[in-house]
């Protein structure tokens, strides 16, 4: 009983001097002071380290007579660039040569992202196929590419395949006609003529109209619930506009530019160098293997119950995929997909090993030509950072739109 009673006894207040409450702790134990001090200290250390490094560079630059300005960018570059989609001449400035490199990087990265996504999705779906043989082929593709270094893959494609192709005179011919040889790939390509303006205008109008029709009919379906066939309707509008444009130009919207073998090389047609082809194929297959795993994980993350419920509601296969599985799988797929895209952009810098003149290659050539390693590297890094930031910003906006809103 005494024990029990003691439970209900209110404990006596601890003896406490009233002054203790109001007393502030000494400043070296005051958390607010400590926080500010820690930040000041780390900032000071950082600034000191930076100052020390920059000071060393300036001393080294003075001793070796290097300049640290960016004025050299206006000087004439003086080196040729193997391939460029914008006109370039060695007498153009370093800045312009650098821009050619940026364009080449964006070209290979853009096309690479597109093809890697397509191939990656295909392989990812094949990986989930109920057909055992198909899924084994997908597994072999994925495991082969994921476990070897990209650089080795690129060298295999470039040194092992593209430079081992037959000479120009004995080109491999595919229907198209597409010619494949040591000099790269030549294929027929529709070129615009002086008469194609009406076609382009009506094509542009067609695209805008198709988007409007798509949005309007889809809204109509969402509000009324009636089937409006928005996909087919907008496609139809586009086709009609393209057909009208074709008629307006009298059937001469394009001129087929067909490569012709003359002397030692082809003339005309669309030409891609073996360097570009090897880089593109290597980047696409390598990234596709990673994207395939991302796609697989995303689709597997959709719970089976969703699928069964959709079947029970009587949705057909395309509705099941488009309305139930994909919207949910995309939420899982998009964030890792963003980092795969960024990886592809950064990996395009490996072109330096096979000689495709992208940003990094041009930068390295500039350093050989003009010195100024520090400035050139600053420029290269800034461009890569900018590409990375813009890509991740755009895709993160898209990601935010499709994610579940949680409250």
């Amino acid at each position: 009983m005494p024990l029990r009673a003691s439970l209900f006894v209110t404990p006596e207040p601890l003896p406490m001097r009233s002054s203790q409450l109001g007393e502030t702790p000494p400043f070296w134990r005051d958390e607010r002071v400590l926080r500010i001090a820690a930040q000041l200290l780390s900032a000071a250390l950082m600034i000191l380290a930076l100052y020390w490094a920059v000071d060393n560079v300036r001393t080294a630059a003075q001793q070796r007579g290097l300049s640290l300005g960016f004025a050299f960018l206006k000087e004439s570059a003086g080196f040729p660039i193997g391939e460029s989609d914008i006109p370039y001449d060695p007498s153009d400035s370093f800045a312009y040569a650098f821009w050619v490199g940026v364009v080449n990087t964006l070209k290979v990265a853009g096309i690479g992202v597109l093809f890697a996504t397509l191939l990656g999705t295909l392989v990812g779906l094949a990986r989930l196929s109920s057909n055992w043989l198909v899924s084994r082929i997908a597994v072999a593709f994925i495991e082969f590419h994921r476990n070897i270094p990209l650089l080795v893959l690129l060298l295999l494609w470039y040194r092992g395949v593209f430079t081992k192709l037959p000479r120009v005179q004995e080109s491999i011919v595919w229907p198209g006609p597409i010619y494949l040889s040591q000099r790269g790939l030549y294929m027929a390509w529709p070129r615009l003529t002086s008469e194609s303006a009406p076609f382009l205008v009506s094509a542009g109008v067609g695209v805008i109209l198709a988007i409007l029709v798509f949005a309007w009919l889809r809204r109509l379906r969402e509000t009324s619930g009636r089937p409006t066939y928005f996909g087919a309707a907008s496609l139809g509008v586009l086709v009609i506009c393209l057909g009208a444009g074709w008629f307006l130009t009298g059937g001469n919207a394009f001129q087929a530019d067909i490569p012709v073998l003359g002397g030692f090389n082809f003339k005309g047609g669309l030409h891609q160098t073996p360097e570009f082809a090897a880089l593109l194929v290597g980047l696409v297959t390598y990234t596709a293997a990673f994207i395939a795993e991302v796609v697989r994980a995303g689709i597997q993350a959709v719970s089976r119950g969703q699928l069964e419920a959709a079947r029970a509601l009587g949705l057909d296969y395309s509705q099941l995929l488009g309305l139930v599985i994909m919207p949910q799988a995309l939420r899982v797929i998009i964030p890792p997909l963003i980092s795969q895209y960024l990886n592809l952009v950064k990996n395009s810098s490996l072109a330096i090993f096979i000689g495709y003149p992208e940003l990094f290659f041009i930068g390295k050539t500039t350093i050989n030509q003009a010195g100024r390693a520090v400035q050139v590297f600053v420029l290269i890094m800034v461009v890569y950072l900018a590409i990375s930031l813009v890509t991740s910003l755009v895709l993160n906006l898209y990601n935010r739109r499709i994610q579940l809103v949680e409250r």
């Binding site: 926080r35 820690a38 930040q39 000041l40 780390s42 900032a43 950082m46 490094a53 920059v54 060393n56 560079v57 001393t59 080294a60 630059a61 001793q63 196929s129 109920s130 057909n131 055992w132 043989l133 198909v134 084994r136 082929i137 495991e143 082969f144 994921r146 476990n147 070897i148 270094p149 990209l150 650089l151 080795v152 893959l153 060298l155 295999l156 040194r159 092992g160 081992k164 960024l342 950064k346 990996n347 810098s349 490996l350 330096i352 090993f353 990094f360 390295k364 350093i367 390693a373 520090v374 590297f377 290269i380 890094m381 890569y384 950072l385 990375s388 930031l389």
Partner: protein, 401 residues
């Protein structure tokens, strides 16, 4: 009674023919798909096998095993490599007994590697009998380690310390001591091959680990300046390609240092790899930190632990356990990325291959053989590591406890 058992026996597993019919030829498009895949597989396999066994000329690979393994490391100092191999054998054997699981996979991989080297299909002149015998003997050393590990007094922490001490000792062995007769210095310029590849990968991941943890803690810090500096560092490094960092560390780093400081080429590449790896490590660790429930911190605070103790005793041990599988993944990609060091004249596995191709005019046009061999080495190592990592994930029970 017997008849009842017979009645409730499960149906016989389907025979292979039934399985093929049900899975591959259950409807017309699946049959078409199966036939197409089968044709693709057969054509590819026949082409690949025919190329490997008939067309390919494997001389640049078979005759240069020592170059691929250790590069130009002085041949009279090869005993040091032998000692290192034995140390690894012993440690792997002990670790296998103590930790099992992943370490067993690693020990097996290592044993297979030793066997392949010992039985390498080339003449005895290009790869001596003593070296082959030493490789065989190391299989025994693994077993000795395994038996040693059975001792009751040996704990996991002892083995961990043993690993760290041995790694340091291996570095001393490799580089030698200045002014020593029996352990003369070997300049890093003559190191090469798989030795350098593994050195860059292991060195990069081990050195970047503490920096990665600090950066992750810094990024999550409540102090805005600290968090801003860490975030800036991580995002800048992650935004630029590794090859850029390697060129920076080899071309520009010397400019940023006082002229009297001279850094070895291999070390500069290692610095580049480490800086790169630290940023990615930080993001992995940050993921692990985010996975520790907030209640843990609150409970620790309620117990009166200081901030330092909360971090080191409560948060980090839980966070790091969750981080081990992604860290293995990071190690694999770093291992593959060591090939980029060939761009800054470090003689790792790939650049050894390239220089062998250039050294002998008889090897012109044999790029496919050499690069495929290099690819195969990377493939086997990476595949086994990712296999081990999957087992590790199960063993650690990440996400289950």
């Amino acid at each position: 009674m017997a008849s009842i058992y017979q009645e409730i026996r499960p149906p016989e597993p389907p025979g292979p023919l039934t399985w093929i019919r049900k899975n591959l030829f259950n409807n017309w498009y699946n049959s078409l798909l199966s036939l197409g895949s089968l044709a693709l597989i057969v054509v590819t396999l026949v082409a690949v096998l025919r190329w490997i066994f008939i067309t390919a000329d494997w001389r640049p690979v078979a005759d240069n095993l020592m170059l691929y393994l250790v590069g130009q490391y002085p041949r009279e100092e090869l005993w040091r490599i032998g000692v290192i191999v034995s140390m690894l054998s012993l440690l792997l054997g002990v670790s296998w007994r103590i930790w099992g699981g992943v370490m067993r996979t690693l020990a097996f991989t290592y044993a297979i590697f030793l066997l392949v080297v010992a039985l390498w299909p080339s003449s005895l002149e290009s790869f001596a009998l003593q070296a082959r015998a030493a490789m065989f003997a190391n299989l025994g050393v693994i077993l000795v380690g395994f038996l040693l590990g059975s001792s009751h007094r040996l704990r996991g922490s002892h083995v961990l310390i043993g690993w760290l001490v041995s790694l340091a000792a291996m570095l001393v062995l490799l580089s030698g001591l200045p002014g020593s007769q029996s352990l003369a210095p070997v300049p890093t310029g003559s190191w090469g091959g798989l030795l350098v590849t593994l050195l860059l990968a292991v060195g990069g991941i081990v050195i970047s680990f503490p920096f990665g943890v600090l950066l992750a803690l810094g990024r999550r810090s409540a102090l805005p300046v600290v968090s801003a500096i860490s975030t800036l560092f991580i995002e800048v490094i992650r935004g630029v390609p590794l090859i850029g960092l390697l060129f920076m560390s080899s071309l520009i780093l010397p400019l940023f240092l006082p002229p009297e400081v001279r850094i070895d080429r291999l070390l500069r590449a290692l610095i580049g790899m480490t800086v790169f790896s630290a940023a990615y490590m930080a993001e992995n660790v940050r993921g692990g930190l985010a996975a520790v429930p907030n209640g843990q911190v609150e409970a620790a605070r309620a117990l009166g632990l200081s901030n330092l103790n909360i971090t080191t005793l409560i948060v980090l041990p839980q966070a790091l356990r969750a981080v081990i599988p992604p860290m293995v993944g990071q190690f694999i990609s770093l291992f593959k990325d060591t090939t980029l060091a060939s761009g800054v004249a470090v003689l790792e596995l790939l650049s050894i291959g390239r220089s062998i191709l250039q050294a002998d005019p008889a090897f012109i046009g044999l790029q496919m053989e050499v690069y495929l061999f290099v690819a195969a080495v990377f493939w086997i190592f990476s595949y086994l590591m990712s296999y081990a990592s999957q087992r590790l994930e199960v063993a650690l029970g990440v996400g289950e406890r």
